[in-house]
Amino acid sequence: MMDIAWAQFTPWTALAGGALIGAAAAILLLFNGRIAGISGILGSLLTTRGSDLPWRIAFISGLLLAPLLWLLAAERPAIEINAGYPALISAGLLVGIGTRYGSGCTSGHGVCGLSRFSMRSLVATLSFMGAGFVTVYIIRHLIGGA
């Protein structure tokens, strides 16, 4: 019944990349005692003062620098953004407001929350995955007709 895109399916890099994401969360947890929740780390930059600020800036800097270091050793990663500007702006607003109201995103709830068997994070993850599936269905199959 499901139509799998075998040509796009990349199981090994997906697993290895996922393991790196898990390892990054492990580093932040085991050394700094913090949860690698990107929306929380970024969002609280807006209000955090004092000793909690440097590690947050360092983590976000790491994310920003990763593609530059990547280019030293490997080819330019594929980043294909087909959404137009109005879509990007509304999506950004929804992601910004939603992740802060819901206290987390794919990393904080999806990776860290599920890794510590949090029911709260499971509910959040099912909610945003469900909303993501429905939104893409509406855009691609009801409106777009593709």
């Binding site: 499901m2 895109a5 796009q8 997906a14 697993l15 290895a16 990349g17 996922g18 393991a19 790196l20 994401i21 898990g22 390892a23 969360a25 085991l30 700094n32 005692g33 690698a36 970024l42 807006l46 590690w55 800036i57 976000i60 790491g62 994310l63 920003l64 990763a66 593609p67 270091l69 990547w70 990663p77 980043i79 294909e80 953004i81 087909n82 990007l88 702006i89 999506a91 607003l93 992601v95 910004g96 939603g98 992740t99 819901g102 206290s103 990393s107 990776v111 860290c112 890794s115 510590r116 949090s118 509910v123 959040a124 909610s127 995955m129 909303a131 993501g132 939104t135 893409v136 269905y137």
Partner: protein
């Protein structure tokens, strides 16, 4: 200082993971979210790979009184499943489905110099500011 270096390394490794896995590519993310189209299941394996390592990390952390740096663990203790959690997550998911970006990959694409990622991140930070202002208005002064 050590604290920030560990954090920088974690951010870098996280970013490499997003790039290697394909999460930093919105078109691939949308291929995963498009159940009714040609479905690319890759991102389910990204989650699986991350969670397998994550489970070990949290088990290990649970057995230690302090971190390797001698700090206390700061782990969320909220367990309430309320409207804010669900409505916020639904909003996030809708935005994720529109552009294919969640916060981490958007930062990585911004670092790669993508102009569209810059616009998305600006809107996302504006959204986070709207949240902060709304919270201030809600809280009794």
């Amino acid at each position: 200082m050590a604290y920030s270096i560990a954090s920088l390394i974690a951010g870098l490794v996280f970013g490499f993971g997003l790039i290697l896995s394909g999460m930093a590519n919105p078109e691939k993310v949308l291929g995963f979210l498009d159940l009714a189209g040609q479905w690319d299941p890759s991102l389910a394996l990204v989650m699986a790979g991350a969670i397998v390592i994550g489970v070990f990390a949290f088990q290990w952390a649970g057995k230690r009184p302090m971190t390797f740096f001698g700090r206390e663990f700061s782990i969320p203790n909220k367990t309430s499943i309320d409207k804010r959690l669900v409505v916020g997550s639904l909003m996030f998911g809708a935005g994720w489905g529109i552009a294919g970006f969640c916060p981490g990959p958007a930062m990585v694409a911004l670092g790669a110099g993508e102009q569209k990622a810059f616009v998305f991140v600006l809107a996302m930070v504006a959204g986070m500011m709207i949240f902060e202002v709304a919270e201030k208005l809600r809280a009794p002064a």
